[in-house]
């Protein structure tokens, strides 16, 4: 079986369409979430810097500290969410598509 046939078979496989749709959609969605978190943070810096500078609970620590650390942690958590789903669902689908193409 030559390469063109494999490509045609893969493309005709509804599982491949499902994989493309889910994986691409999920990737763009998480990218947008990351950008929204980051630019949201930037907007707060612009609109309400004193809000970030306000005391968290009466002490020296400001609201900005947990918010800033939260953005860092969110980046890591988002990559984790993606890897979790990709390692399971997407890889299973990919595996099935690859096996069915080689039959």
């Amino acid at each position: 079986m030559n390469n063109e046939e494999i490509v045609a078979r893969v493309q005709a496989n509804p599982k491949f369409q499902e994989l493309v749709q889910k994986k691409t959609g999920f990737g763009w969605m998480l990218s947008i979430v990351m950008l929204a978190i980051y630019y949201g943070f930037i907007l707060v810096l612009a609109f309400n810097p004193s809000g970030l500078g306000a005391s968290l609970s009466g002490g020296i620590t400001t609201v900005g500290i947990p918010v800033g650390l939260g953005v860092i942690i969110s980046a890591f958590v988002l990559t984790g969410i993606y890897v979790q789903r990709a390692n399971g669902e997407f890889d299973r689908l990919t595996q099935e598509v690859v096996e069915e193409a080689r039959k």
């Binding site: 494999i6 893969v10 493309q11 998480l30 900005g64 980046a75």
Partner: protein, 558 residues
């Protein structure tokens, strides 16, 4: 509402500008030589060099094929590669520079580091797996996948070499100055030492040695920084509140360090730089090449997950280190000169903190780590430049893909040697030059020449060779021309009168990237040649491979 807009731009500008300082990568200006030769640092540095040369020897015996040389045979695990990628990102400049920024400005330092981190998840979601599935040794493999080999490889190799050269010069000059300061060694000796070790790692040990040197450095840097952050926390009884209170008490800006601050000179500049940093990261050849060292898309994906975690953790550590330095270094007369300024400049606060929390021995350790960091980063750069010459120019363009592997590797090793000699010469030649613009320029070129072509080749069926080549070169030349005509080079380097610059912004990426994307699109859609039709026709096969990995280059040892 309208009056808010400047503030938003201001906030963006703050992030962008600070990121520039952070990225600049070099210890700027005249440095005082260390008062005495720092022996414990030198001994630990030699221990590191000895150990890494041992690894190079081990790696050399395992490096036989071209795949071993370029990608460590694809046998690096996702976790290891995550450490190596994080290592590429955690340069001496980011360790010393960001802790200095937190020391000086407090909360703003945290904002800076965040701007650098958020590009990584996006690379994972959109680029990493596709890149792994399509490429073999260099990102040019991906860009030229369905296009004409010769012109696209020449474009990609040019983009790679320009970025590598600028980055290398900046690193060499920064290395020379830092080593002068830390070890009391002569500038020229320091530069020669870095150049010689770089060549040895890459020429003999290839990607395997380069990766392991980077991994070891990442581990010792993270351990050292963790220890420093821990000691800071111990000194305040593990209470962040107590740490912040003590810092506020001892900082001239008092409570201002706990809130966002900072000034904006030019918001467009800042947005432009922000774009360069975010998309430049996805166009840096020495970072992209790391995705080919893992066995498959799954490992590529895991490597970004670990890299993001390590880089984020590292930024949190530098935040604690910077705050700790405010009351552990800034108040200690041993670290202040007669004028009450930090000895060696603010960039040295992390080094002084090492001494404050761990004595001379730990100071030596951290100094050696700083040097190791530079070595690991320049080795990756040299390998990336050498691959562009041997794999893209020699094997694909000159030999039309029919080069024998031995010759290709010989060319690669010779190129490494040439790059080593060149970087020593340039490092010495640029000692007294203002090189701060170079890393910014490297990011702008990566974002304007490499990234658009790479991104469109994977995501847009309509891309043709004509569009890619014209668009890529327009991105490259516009980035260079706009930088040269901008204030940094025109005024500060070439010495023209202030205000006489022909282009008002320091960072061209907003304009050069837009121009690159637009011209790539324009020259692709107007390309009705038969070749263009064929290239579009090959997209489906490329897309299937990029999504499924069918036909992707695997690990070499099956």
């Amino acid at each position: 509402m309208n009056r808010r807009i400047p503030q938003i731009l201001g906030a963006l500008a703050l992030v962008g500008l600070s990121a520039a300082a952070f990225a600049a990568g070099a210890v700027e200006g005249e440095v005082q030589k260390a008062k005495a030769t720092n022996w414990s640092a030198i001994i630990m540095f030699f221990a590191f060099v000895g150990f890494t040369l041992g690894i190079t020897y081990w790696a050399a015996r395992r490096t036989q094929s071209a795949s071993d040389f370029y990608t460590a045979g694809g046998g690096i695990s996702g976790f290891q590669n995550g450490l190596a990628i994080a290592g590429d990102y955690m340069s001496a400049a980011s360790f010393l520079g960001i802790s200095a920024m937190v020391f000086d400005k407090g909360y703003d330092g945290l904002i800076y580091s965040i701007g650098f981190l958020v590009g990584w998840p996006v690379i994972l979601f959109l680029v990493a797996e596709r890149l792994r599935n399509l490429g073999k040794f260099t990102f040019a493999d991906v860009a030229s996948y369905r296009l004409a080999q010769t012109p696209v490889r020449i474009l990609a190799a040019t983009g790679t070499l320009v970025v590598v050269a600028l980055y290398l010069i900046a690193q060499m000059v920064g290395a020379g100055k830092l080593i002068q300061l830390l070890f009391g060694l002569d500038y020229a000796i320091a530069v020669v030492l870095v150049g010689v070790l770089m060549v040895m790692y890459v020429m003999f040990g290839g990607m395997l040695a380069t990766t392991w040197v980077q991994i070891i450095k990442a581990v010792i840097l993270l351990s050292g920084a963790s220890f420093m952050a821990l000691m800071v926390l111990v000194s305040v009884g593990f209470s962040p509140e107590a740490m912040f209170a003590k810092a506020v008490e001892n900082h001239p800006k008092a409570t201002a360090i706990m809130a966002p601050g900072g000034l904006v000179s030019n918001p467009i500049d800042a947005i432009s730089l922000g774009l360069a940093l975010m998309f430049g990261t996805a166009g840096l050849p020495h970072i992209l090449m790391r995705f080919f060292t893992v066995g498959n898309a799954k490992e590529a994906r895991k490597s970004v997950f670990f890299a993001t975690g390590f880089i984020g953790y590292f930024y949190i550590l530098t935040f604690i280190i910077g705050f700790g330095a405010i009351f552990l270094v800034g108040t200690n007369p041993n670290f202040l000169d007669d004028a009450g300024k930090i000895v060696g400049g603010n960039n040295m606060v992390a080094v002084h903190l090492a001494k404050a929390v761990g004595g001379d021995l730990f100071l030596g350790f951290i100094s050696a780590v700083a040097f190791a960091t530079i070595l690991a980063v320049v080795a990756g750069l040299a390998l990336s430049g050498a691959s562009a010459v041997s794999h893209d120019l020699y094997a694909s363009v000159i030999k039309k893909g029919k080069a024998n592997e031995k010759d290709e590797m010989r060319v690669s090793k010779m190129t490494t040697l040439v790059l080593g000699v060149l970087s020593i010469i340039l490092g010495i030649a640029f000692e007294k030059q203002n090189i701060a613009f170079m890393v910014g320029l490297a990011f702008s070129i990566a974002a304007s020449a490499n990234f658009p072509v790479l991104f469109l080749s994977m995501f847009w069926k309509g891309l043709t060779t004509r569009g890619a080549v014209i668009g890529g070169f327009i991105g490259l030349t516009s980035a260079v021309v706009l930088i040269v005509f901008g204030p940094t080079v025109w005024v500060e380097v070439l010495g023209h009168a202030k205000g006489s610059e022909l282009f008002p912004y320091k960072n061209p990426a907003l304009f050069s990237m837009t121009l690159a994307f637009f011209s790539t699109w324009l020259f692709s859609v107007t390309d009705s040649s038969r070749q263009a039709q064929e290239e579009k026709g090959r997209f489906d096969a490329q897309f299937v491979r990029s999504m499924t990995g069918i036909g992707a280059a695997g690990a070499s040892k099956h």
